[in-house]
Symmetry: C2
Subunit: 355 residues, 2 copies
DNA sequence: CGAGATCGTTAAAACGATTTTGTGCACCTG
DNA sequence: CAGGTGCACAAAATCGTTTTAACGATCTCG
């Protein structure tokens, strides 16, 4: 019966008019029943509901959006979905947004400002109610050209503190500093920091944290930062080079997901072992850190909280609550595991954690 | 100059009418200039273009979609974005779609048919031109209730061969069979297959491949399949149990991403090593497989090709090309590395691949 | 009892584009 | 020169909803 009713108007999906006609009411009444904006007498309400069911009517969101000037869509632009950090971020935001009946339009900028600007432009044309962006560069001038027309926008992970935007990031400085201090406290004096790219505030905060930790320990001149690029192999190569030097570092602090992968591969390629030959501390945690043997110590970014905060801030703006732009810096946690040991422990293979 | 022009209509973004007025032409002409559907005299064309630039006019995609009955939006529904396989799939599809000026609405079903059905319903209301779904179950009856109203839809990874849909999947049967044969050829006779969930055709194909490989070797009765569930710890527990048995398997074939993680953790938790105490073969490859030591042998799914094929098929339907539904089964590749060794090699710690 | 408030209802006007239809003009053609 | 043909353009219809404004009926209160 439901099914038969479906085919009413030449195969085309039924419109609110069809429903209205079938229920002998005005289209406006159908709208009122469905949206609940205005009260409708019970008998009519039932007639409308029945007609809706019989026709299998599904309101055309497009038309509603056009009229309402609200799409309940938010655009998300991230540099790279294959990075687990961003995947997790998007995953969580989508989940939260869905709870409030918002949908997300996802776009990748591929770490490229030009693509990014283009994507933002597309999202604007699509009338998204809000934007969550992890910019390719901290300088958002590329898409800030459209700044005046931007809907509520929150910047995550990068571009922290840019005027006019709610911004969120992990406390990279503090996390890197604490990570470095952890290594120092173990007795390391030759710590190499490996980053993917030094152009991002994101990363340069980590570099600063690292440097300050060294400075405070009176080891400012021991700072050694290597830039590996956005590829695993690039990082691996850079790290191999460091490890081949006569004054090989006693610890590697890989300040990015890609760098960690590169570091592990480099250590292995040279037939070394951590923590025996060199300690390893990773920025960005994952299940793999406790799958590797030994377990890899890591600084964990609060991805879930970042997502939650991003959504909270955006939703606040969407629902009209004004207020000053927010700057949220969330603390990372240091997971000390097995890959970080005093340098003196080198050569002595120890077996840990036998059940 | 551009900027000043922007503020023309009480802060609201300019419409095609505003442009038309400024250029002293009809709205239709503006449309024709911008879409290029009909020729417009050069002088008017220039006037329109100038007006567009001056006002910073951006066509309202919503209105255009409503009129055109085409949104250039495709919906993607996947079970879980934190699974790298799906993340990579979405990443690639988004990339390809963007090249053809299509955008994607992303939704997660969280492996739940009910949520899935709801998401599909939302996508239908949003008038998406097409759908790419990795269903939570092979039985798509949940959202097939809306089957009649479904836009062109292609099913990926799961629900292979369902009537009425273009479907794509990896050749799970063959891959598992070859994987198992690889282990058999090394001399293994006690091979445990670990899966996350046996309800998916996806997975049951892998089970079948595994069984057939054993049968053909005359070892049908040695088949041992354990179901670990969708969590790493679930898999780990199940595998630990197997490894504790007196007749401990000599090889573990983990038939899912989650299972591999569980297997590695289980092996480690019992203070065993691969491949010395037990060989390990993983379904799903990743950078981590060559970061672990020893390298983990793996069956690699052709994610990129799956994404490309999904988009190709969908685009074909979107551009009107009809034809029978397609069933594409793509071959996996077996990456033999170091975690799979003859069982006889047990106890003999060998050092491999020193540079 | 009558003015005004309240309520459910509907017709009509938006929303901002595209497409269809129609018109006037210039140019051919027989 | 009458009658077509083609062309660029504009006016109006359209997409499918929501919102506004108007309406009559009922209720309230002085």
């Amino acid at each position: 019966m439901n099914e038969s009713g479906r085919i009413g108007r030449g195969g085309k999906p039924p419109t609110i008019r069809d429903v209205a006609e079938l229920a002998s009411v005005a289209p406006a009444t159908v709208s009122n029943v469905l949206t609940g904006r205005r009260p409708v007498a019970e008998d009519r309400r039932q007639r409308v509901l029945a007609a809706v069911a019989q026709l299998g009517y599904r309101p055309n969101h497009l038309a509603a959006s056009l009229r309402r000037q609200e799409t309940r869509t938010i655009g998300i632009v991230i540099p790279d979905l294959t990075n687990p950090f961003f995947a997790a971020l998007v995953h969580r935001i989508e989940e939260l947004a869905a709870e409030s009946d918002y949908q997300i339009l996802l776009m990748s900028s591929n770490e490229d400002t030009e693509q990014e600007a283009h994507r933002v432009e597309v999202l604007l044309a699509r009338q998204t109610d809000g934007l969550i962006i992890a910019p390719a560069r901290d300088d958002v001038s590329a898409f800030a050209a459209s700044a005046a027309d931007l809907p509520p926008t929150v910047l995550v992970d990068r571009g922290f503190g840019l005027p006019g935007f709610d911004t969120i990031c992990a406390d990279n400085y503090d996390a890197a500093k604490r990570g470095c201090q952890h290594l120092l406290s173990l007795g390391h004096r030759d710590i190499v920091l490996v980053v993917s790219d030094s152009g991002l505030a994101n990363i340069s905060d980590r570099i600063a944290g690292y440097r300050d930790a060294l400075s405070e320990a009176g080891l400012a001149d021991r700072a050694r930062v290597v830039v590996g690029g956005f590829s695993v192999d690039g990082c691996r190569g850079a790290i191999e080079q460091e490890l081949r030097r006569a004054d090989r570092p006693t610890a590697i602090f890989s300040a990015a997901y890609i760098a960690t992968l590169g570091a592990i591969k480099a250590i292995r390629a040279l037939d070394l072992e951590f923590p025996d030959n060199v300690s390893l501390l990773s920025f960005d945690d994952s299940d793999w850190m406790t799958a590797l043997r030994p377990y890899v110590s890591a600084v964990a970014q609060p991805v879930e909280e970042m997502a939650a905060e991003a959504w909270r801030l955006l939703k606040q703006r969407l629902t009209g609550a004004g207020g000053d732009v927010a700057r949220v810096r969330l603390a990372c946690s240091l997971q000390v595991r097995e890959s970080t040991r005093p340098p003196s422990a080198a050569k002595a293979k120890r077996r840990i954690g036998s059940t």
